[in-house]
């Protein structure tokens, strides 16, 4: 039994968007991205449902209603926000980290939106660039 020495770099950027009023953002990434909408129940549980189709590599325009959203990328990403007052963002190396951000698990006995399967610090944390205004 022999082990190959192929390098495998763990790289993960997690972004949580808090949308106060319906708005449109532009997400640019060199990879296919899934956006999930997080829904909080009265009991404090959090569930996740995919928001729209998968986003193909390149620049995608996304309409977001009021709510909380989440996406992850393996590489750098750029978000352009037209209305700075409508969106705030939180990033972490991974929402899968132990412990995940508070929005993912508001209380100790609450249901998390995702099944998390382990832990490991990334070797590289991709950058998120955020721009604001009308011009891209």
């Amino acid at each position: 039994m022999r082990r190959s020495t192929q390098a495998r770099v763990l790289s993960s950027l997690a972004v949580i968007l808090y949308v106060a009023t319906p708005t449109t953002i532009m997400l640019t990434a060199h990879e296919t991205v899934r956006i999930d909408r997080l829904t909080h129940s009265a009991a404090g549980d959090v569930t996740a449902d995919r928001h729209g189709d998968l986003l193909r590599p390149g620049t995608n325009t996304i309409h977001l209603d009021r709510g909380t959203y989440h996406f992850r990328t393996a590489g750098n990403a750029q978000v352009h926000v037209t209305d700075p007052d409508s969106v705030t963002m939180e990033t972490s190396q991974s929402v899968k980290c132990i412990d995940p951000p508070r929005v993912m698990r508001p209380g100790p006995d609450t249901v998390m939106p995702f099944d998390i399967r382990g832990a490991g610090l990334p070797d590289h944390i991709p950058a998120l660039t955020v721009t604001y205004g009308d011009a891209v």
């Binding site: 039994m1 082990r3 020495t5 192929q6 763990l10 569930t47 399967r117 832990a119």
Partner: protein
Amino acid sequence: MPSDLPGLAIHIGADVLTSPRHARWPAVRSCRDSLERTARLAAAAGIARQLQLLGARASRAEVIGALRRAAAELDRDGHLLLAFTGHSDRERTDPDSPPSIGWCLHDGTLPIADVAALLAAVPPTALVTVIADTCYAAALSGFTIPATVVLLAAYGANQEILANPATGFAARLEQLVLPGGQFNPLSTSYGWLNRQLREDSPDVERPRVWTNRLAAWSWPPFHPRPARNAGPPWTAGPGLSH
């Protein structure tokens, strides 16, 4: 349909972790459901002997013992199906070495290097199917195992799961291969299955099928393994290039 050859399935669901490092991690909620699904896939593959290790039974000693017994008892042309669902850990103990990856079991971590070593003891003419529903799942492909191995990895060797349990890996596998309990006529090869699994996933979480035999790409997923030289479909073609 019963298989022509004897097989054995070991389903591990590490849903209760007691080691100090892992005890406070969120429990994997879908373990039991995933194992029921992998048991149905194993049954479809004609495997009658199935062992389920959940909770405290998903311990290092139980898993190692089960794999040792499987390697010793498996027919030379038999089929071992190993399913694991749970946490994995990735730790860098030496700054000059790649991180070590292991499956988190009830009472501690089982390095995948040890899993590979245990699978390397399976007769080289046997078939080993591994369903790894865990982070860094494809890392097992980095080891050389003499037997034919088909690895169904929920995510890449460098990727972490953040799955909605309702659309988890085992659920997707079963839906693609065995919808409604019947073989999907479109599921004609592991190459097809690989494409389907990857088509609807973001790059940050890419499931994959991997095998150490080119011909295995053309095998129909989870179909009973016929006796040696039994003819199609298992002897089909040179296989797909992936």
